[in-house]
Each structure stands twice: as structure tokens, then as C-alpha cells.
Symmetry: C2
């Protein structure tokens, strides 16, 4: 059976022009684009006056910010973002290669094209990192057809100094003709040269037009980010205005935004709306959302354009420059209409996560005297201040999920007078506990353990995150509701910034300045010095 979209304007991202053409679809693929009328018996959709565009591509996201790889599609697909590249990190860490494979398999049944990156190193250093990310473990993942790149290497010093294990991972990705994603946040121009020289193919960490331009010039495919944590797209596009038309290798990313961001702004559609607002030519913007990432990912023979042989993954847009699709096709099937998904998202059979063991109150005995205190200056950046611990400071701890070790620290300007709060929503997949009362901290941790992961204030709000302690079971709306409540409760507890979820996730992320709670201990990131090693609990 032939489906035909007749009478529309096709977005020809290959030549950068808009052209009147009919589109024929058969068995999930485009079979014809041009002037002819559809064959007798075709299922004809009149798209006169409308635009037929390729589905948008999100080349870099983390499908675990309360939403799951499946529930994220509830907002992505109606937005027109029909191809998503997912980070494998937490699934690989929590469930190993077999668990990851079952999740990838499930997502192959999605009403979208879900691709993956495979990490070659974690976001937070682990004692057993070399074993978990052994090249024999990692290299075979690059042969998976779903894996399109190696995942961002957050510890870019390991790239610059040519750490042998990281270099072997980069080489394995390249040998499989796959890309190598960097994470070059804050890297100087000279450092960017070293990172490009070491094989980094792409970066998404520019925050100004000049930073983006430097990355492009040095040969990196450059993702312009508009995330909840870092909404820098407008500034970057203004800075790039002189080259945006002649440049290639530009893309948009939302980099794993929080649920409310996606609910309110869409995924790549949101980035396109910003591009339009800033005055980027609609065709150029669309190329950045389609054929440029498809080419980057080595998917341009399958996706990213309206041409024969490609998947029939298409958007019907009301007019040029209006990015909200009226109809979304994936593989020739209508999967969303007028902002609502009409296809089923996959059921993932989540592998069971190990039980969480919360320590008792004595584990949380407060640090006193002069300490390196983490003074928060933004949602995710803190500065080290060495001083006497005083009232108003918060004790913080990262605890192994199995209760075997604890890393303690002191933070300020993060929450107010909170007795005890705990969560498993951390990039290191461990238990983060905050508060000023050891008994309350232990109770909050015990509550999170009882929930099987989630958020818990001592004597207050709690919510389970059933999947790996990070993801809410069920649909996107549940993730959204939990995030909104978390934001409310954190604000009520004195949290002063805009992104409480990422503040928690990144409290243990050793890729951000300046003090981090890590499995190895309290880390000063820049010098990579462990100021206080993790303590064994049993």
C-alpha cells in the first residue's frame, strides 16, 4: 500500500531549498519525491499549503532525568523530534552489557528512532573504573548497529593527557567508523586544540558564540545546547550570526533537560523556535536539526532528509518557520497529531536493581572544625572555601548503595535549615544525604532505601524512583509531577537556584568545579586531589 502526501512544499535540506513535491511512502520508507500523482488506491493525505519536513534529530541526551528512555518519547515525538541519541551510561553501570542490550532492544520498538552512544569512561571516577570500562567490555558495543558514537568523555584531562584506556576507547570507536563525543566544558583554546588532536569529534559544551566558533574551527562538530541547566542557544546563535549560513557541522541539543523544560518547550522544536526568534533562516535552522546531525551520526542514508530510500519519518508543518508539527510520521505510520502522541511507547522490562542499604545515624557524625566547604554559586558550580564549619552549613554525604562506604563533606548556600534529605538521583548512582541532624539524615536515607530509590525529606515529602533510583515508573506526566514537587519542596527548604534536579545529580559529578562528593572521597576537581578519602562502613 502506498501512502502519499500530496500538494505540499517539501523541505529539501540537501540543496537548502523549499520545493513543491508529492511524497510517496511504502513499507515504511520514502519511495518517491516529485511531481507525479500517486498511484490508484494510494492512501492520500492532502497537505496543500503545508510543509513536509524530515523529523528532527536530538543527537545527545540522557534518558533518565526522572523520565525514562520510553516516557521521554511522549514529549519528543509530538514535538517532531523523531530521532534521539541516548546515553547508555547509567544503564550500563546499573545493569551491565546484558541489561543494556535488553533496554536497547526494547527501544528498537519505539515510535521513534532511538540510537545510543557507548561511554568509554564514567562521569565520576570509580575505584573499579578500569574493570568496569575495560576495552574488552567497551569495544564490542561499537559494533552494535544502534550505537552511533562513543559517549561524552567528561574527564577531558584524561583525553588531553592521552590516558591509555581512554585512547583505546577512542580508537575502538573510530575503527568502527563511529564518532567520539567530547565534553570540553571550560576548555581553553589551546586545550581544545589538544582535545581535537586527540580525536574528539564533537562537543556540546560551548556556552558562547566564540566558544562554539572555536570548536567548529578546530574541526569539531558542534552541538548548540539549550537545556534546562544551560539555556545558551540564543547567545550562541547571536554570536555565530556571521558564519551560521556558511558553516556546516552545527546541531542543536537539549542535553537531558528536566521534565518541565520538555513539557513547556518541546525538544528540538524548542531550539528551532529560538533559532527563528533570533533570525536564523528557517532552512538553515532545519538543516541543523536534521541533515547535519544525520550526517554527523552516519545516519544520513536513513534519516535527516525527504528522499527515496530514507525512513518515512516526516513532519507535516503548518507553514515555513512554524515548527510544531500537525502530523508526525515515523516509518510511514502516524505517531503523533497536534501535539499528542498516538502510538504506544515501549514497555521496558527493567532488570532488577540491587537493594539499597542505608547506614545508621553514626555514619553521619558531622564534620567539624576547619573544613573545605563547598559554597554553591549556581545550580551546579561550587567554590572551595576553607573555614570553620558553622551554623547554616549543611553536612553532606555520598553513600554507596550497598552501604559499604561513605564520603562526607560540608556545603553552604544550597539548602536552608534541613534536618535530613536523601536521594538516589545522582550521576554516580549512589545515595546522596544532606542535613544538619545525623539521626534525621539516617531516617531520610532509610526512607529512600525503603522506597527502592527516590527522594525523601525526613518527616516530609518523599517520592519513589522505582527504576534504578533515578527514573519514575510510568508515563512522562509522573516524572513531571515529581520534578515539580521536588522543585517546590527544595525551594521551600531554601534552595536558591533554578535546577534542583541537576544540583542533586551533579553533587557527585567530578567534571564540575570545585568540590565533589565522589566514590573515591571528597575531591578537589581541578587538582584531582582527594581531600578526604571515602570511609569504609562495613
Amino acid at each position: 500500500l502506498v501512502t502519499a502526501l500530496v500538494g505540499g512544499t517539501v523541505a529539501d535540506v540537501y540543496t537548502g531549498t523549499w520545493t513543491a513535491a508529492n511524497v510517496e511512502i511504502e513499507s515504511g520508507r520514502i519511495t518517491y519525491v516529485g511531481p507525479r500523482q500517486p498511484p490508484d488506491g494510494a492512501d492520500v493525505l492532502d497537505v496543500s499549503g503545508k510543509v513536509v519536513a524530515p523529523g528532527y534529530i536530538e543527537p545527545h541526551t540522557h534518558p533518565w532525568c526522572l523520565y525514562s528512555p520510553s516516557s521521554l518519547l511522549e514529549v519528543a515525538v509530538p514535538d517532531g523530534t523523531t530521532t534521539l541519541v541516548y546515553d547508555n551510561l547509567f544503564f550500563f553501570l546499573a545493569h551491565g552489557v546484558d541489561g543494556l542490550r535488553s533496554i536497547v532492544d526494547a527501544m528498537n520498538g519505539a515510535p521513534a528512532h532511538v540510537k545510543w552512544v557507548a561511554r568509554i569512561s564514567p562521569q565520576s571516577a570509580y575505584e573499579d573504573e578500569a574493570e568496569r570500562f575495560a576495552i574488552e567490555q567497551i569495544a564490542p558495543l561499537f559494533a552494535w548497529p544502534e550505537v552511533v558514537a562513543s559517549g561524552e568523555i567528561t574527564n577531558w584531562m584524561s583525553v588531553a593527557r592521552r590516558d591509555p584506556r581512554v585512547a583505546a576507547g577512542i580508537a575502538a570507536a573510530k575503527a568502527a567508523r563511529k564518532r567520539v563525543e567530547g565534553h570540553n566544558a571550560g576548555a581553553s583554546y589551546n586545550r581544545l586544540n589538544e582535545l581535537s588532536a586527540a580525536g574528539i569529534s564533537a562537543d556540546h559544551e560551548a556556552i558562547t558564540g566564540d566558544e562554539a566558533l572555536a570548536r567548529l574551527r578546530l574541526g569539531m562538530w558542534t552541538m548548540l545546547r539549550q537545556s534546562s541547566l544551560r539555556p545558551d542557544l540564543e547567545a550562541m546563535l547571536r554570536g555565530l550570526a556571521p558564519v551560521v549560513d556558511s558553516a556546516r557541522r552545527l546541531m542543536f541539543t537539549t542535553d537531558g533537560a528536566v521534565p518541565s523544560f520538555y513539557a513547556e518547550r518541546g525538544v528540538i522544536g524548542g531550539a528551532l523556535r529560538i533559532a527563528s526568534a533570533v533570525g536564523v533562516d528557517p532552512m538553515r535552522a532545519l538543516q541543523m536539526a536534521t541533515i547535519d546531525p544525520a550526517t554527523f551520526l552516519g545516519l544520513d542514508e536513513e534519516l535527516g532528509g525527504v528522499a527515496p530510500g530514507r525512513r518515512a519519518t516526516l513532519l507535516v508543518l503548518p507553514e515555513i518557520g512554524e515548527w510544531r508539527p500537525e502530523v508526525v510520521f515515523v516509518d510511514g505510520e502516524i505517531v503523533a497529531r497536534d501535539g499528542e502522541i498516538v502510538a504506544l511507547t515501549p514497555q521496558i522490562d527493567w532488570p532488577a536493581a540491587p537493594r539499597i542499604v542505608a547506614p545508621g545515624a553514626d555514619a553521619f557524625a558531622p564534620l567539624t572544625g576547619t573544613q573545605p566547604v563547598a559554597r554553591y554559586e549556581s545550580a551546579v558550580i561550587n567554590r572551595r572555601v576553607d573555614r570553620e564549619v558553622g551554623p547554616g552549613d549543611l553536612q553532606a554525604a555520598l553513600v554507596a548503595r550497598d552501604g559499604s562506604w561513605i564520603t562526607q563533606g560540608v556545603i553552604e548556600s544550597f539548602l536552608g535549615d534541613v534536618a535530613g534529605f536523601a536521594t538516589t538521583a545522582t550521576t554516580s548512582l549512589e545515595l546522596l544525604v544532606l542535613g544538619n541532624d545525623p539521626a534525621a539524615m539516617a531516617r531520610a536515607a532509610a526512607k529512600v532505601a525503603e522506597l527502592g530509590g527516590g527522594f525523601a525529606f525526613d518527616n516530609g515529602w518523599s517520592a519513589p524512583l522505582e527504576i534504578d533510583g533515578l527514573i519514575a515508573a510510568g508515563g512522562f506526566d509522573r516524572a513531571l509531577e515529581i520534578e515539580r514537587r521536588l522543585t517546590f519542596e527544595m525551594g521551600r527548604a531554601g534552595y536558591p537556584f533554578h535546577d534542583p534536579l541537576y544540583s542533586l545529580l551533579f553533587a557527585s559529578g567530578d567534571f564540575l568545579p570545585e568540590l565533589r562528593l565522589t566514590p573515591r572521597g571528597l575531591l578537589e576537581v581541578k587538582s584531582r586531589t582527594v581531600l578526604q578519602p571515602a570511609r569504609r562502613l562495613r
Copy 2:
């Protein structure tokens, strides 16, 4: 040791801009591009006032038109064409996988980047084609790092009708994340849709701007050809003018031109000069010669731009828009200066070719009475005319190199009153014999056999082609001299067109209209009817 190019203008093909920057090179790769001064002890080349550009890429050529894979570099490298993609066809046919491998190995030592395509079907149908091009034979070639695509599929009907062997070859190339080159000469718009739908990634056979535009729109990477046989670049660029700046996926190719063409015009440099003459923006033209083909070929992390991590394969150009390099670097070494190669080209240990066996005069007994006569209308196109054979017609024969079979035909408007002429320079690798005197034809054939391949007029000029009967041993100059003499001798013998070498090469090429001498017999190409089967000789 660091080499530094200081004070120049770098062609930044990534952003499409020209930028003042120094370039540092170490161990054959670019390590830095930017404002800093070179380190103490660096080997500094002052390029003030000059342009530093990536080497040009020729994505599609046939390295056997009298020159060899090695001797072609004598004209390519000084031209600035430092990456060449070579067709494997004749080497694979003549020497099998092992012979091909030894040639590929030798070319890995070239002062240029030599990559290869692997054919999945021949240019002329063979009886044993299925065996020679069995998928078990072909698929492993796509794992070779030097192989970047499957070679052009001249019989595009086999693609359109989804011939299972061809489809398997296409699938094997794509599974290895490599491109599939088409040869869609004369395909209608509807047919181009089918070919794109069947997986053709690229085409080089457009001859007008509209044809090129159709290919782009239908998702094919499009090579704009300027060859000795088909110098269509200017017309195509004029036709494409409205989209050339916004289009991606455009490249230049010379498609295996004859030696004199390269000697007089260069390789990709010649195409760039035409682009400039037609008014294409120099940066856009340079992108078509560098980053666009590098991206097409999956080589953009190694080649095609001036950025860290890339091979230090660079040109020093005197100014923007002047495409003749003053200095050519390959992997950090100076390999050409002011139009002269200064590096050694590889010695290929050519595998021995089987002995040629010429038949006696009786094999050439003339065809008489009413025959399908091939009337030549251009260097390579003929039309079938059924009529009585008369004076002025030429008897033609394709003979197996081992003398085992013969295909006979009659041609007109090709040569004048020639008694006997023979050559092994044919796309089917067989012996082509022309003339009006069977004894003279046999003598010419015997002479070619004695030479071990080459050209021979009975009682006149002859020249050996020592390598596979197709390639002149020695340097490029010898190939050039033979071509010039061939052109002179063919002209003297009444040849009326512009490209005698291709006329001979393609006399047995069953991808061109209308009558061809093939191993299967005299073929009417369009209907694929064998009008007269090949005859066994022993």
C-alpha cells in the same frame, strides 16, 4: 619536531571563512591551529600573504588509463590533489583479491592518501560474473580500512530491479558503514527515485545542472564531473548557480581522464579553476573539493580540513582563488613544490598477467550480408543500424585474452580504411581487434600478444602496455606520450572524435548505448539482447 606554517590565512572549510592563523604540525598530523607563535626549535615556514588550505580530494577515479595508480600521482600531487579514491575493478578482475591487496599495500606508501572503492559487479557482463563477484568474495573487502565505498554500479537496471546479488553487495557496503556509488547515466527522474530508494548513495553521471539538482534532491551525494570524455562542469555549475551556496553534498571528479587532460589541466585543481571562472565563491568551491568529499567518504576526521588531529596534508596557495599550490604537504612532508613532485611514488610489484593468445586470420572472417551495424555518433555512443555491410565498414572483434572465444560485429564512422588494429585497452580486459583485412587483423592481434598487451596497427605504430595490457610501465610521461601518439595515429587513420582512448576502452562496455562487443556476444544494450553470441575458438 614541530613544523609551523606562520603568518598565513587558513581556509576554514568548517565555518566557510578565511582566518588568520598559524598551523603546527607534529608526527604527520596537525596539532594546533590558532594565534600562538611556534615553540622554540620549530621548523618555521613563513607563509605571510599566502593561504593554507586542505589538500583536494578526488573521490572517484580509475587509475589505469595508460597511467598507473602510482604514476597518476605525478600529476595529482603537484596539482594539490592529495587524496584520491581509486576504482579496484581491473586489478580485482586481473589479479584477484590477493593481487589487489598487494597493490593497495603498495599505494599505502604513496605521497598521497589513496583510498579505494570495491566493485560489486563488473562493467561488462561476464558469463562467470556471479562467481567472480560472489558476495563471499566481495563483502570482506568492505572491512578493509582503505575501502571507502562500493564502486559504481554501471548496470543500474540491476539496482532498480533489485537483483539479489547486487542488493546483497549494497547491503554489505552499508553494513560496514560505507557508501554505495551509482552510475546513473541517463536515468530518468522516476528511475533516479528508484535508484535512490534502492540504496545508491552517490552519482557522478549528471551532465546538466537539472540532472545534478535532481540527484541532490533525491538524496544522492553528487559529483560534478569534468573529465576528458565529459567536460560538463561549467554547464552544471551554471545550472546549479541558484543552489550552489546552500547545497551540501557536492563534489568534483575527473572520473579517470586521459593523461593529456591531467597534464594540461591538473586534477581537482582544474575543476576549481572552472568553478572560479564561473563565479562560484572560492570558499564554496574549496568545500566541494575538500570537506564535502571527506564527509561523504567518512574521512572527515582525518582529511578535508585544517584542524588538529587531521593529517597534515595541506597546500600553500599564493592567494585566495588561485588553486595551484606553491607547496604541497602530505602527512607533514613536502611532497611537491611549484608544480613538481619531489617525493618518490610507490613501486608496485605487479602480479604477472596471463599470456595473451591471438587467434589466426580465419577467426576474423568478415561478417557480411545484413548486420546490426554500430554507427558511432560520438567517442563512445553508437546507434544500431541494420543494413547490408558495405565498403567503409570496419569489422570489429572482441577476443578473449586466452584466445578461447570471439565476439564479432561491424562498426562505422570510427576509423577509416584500416587493415588491422588491435589493443588490450578495453574495459572488459579482452583484446579488441578492428580492420577490413582478416590477415592484417590477425597480425595486429599477434603483435599485441607479442608485446604482452598494448596497441598495434598492422604494419605501423605499436606500443606495449606492460601492465595488464592497459597501463604503461614507468612514469606518467610515458603514458602521456603513448596517448598523444595514439591520438595522432588514430586521427591519421580517420578517427573523427575527441577521445580515442575511451572509444577503445568502452567498445566493450555494456553500460553505453547501443551495440557493444561483450564476452557474451554482440549485445544490444537497452534490451540486453545478445544479437550474436560469442563463438568458441578452441
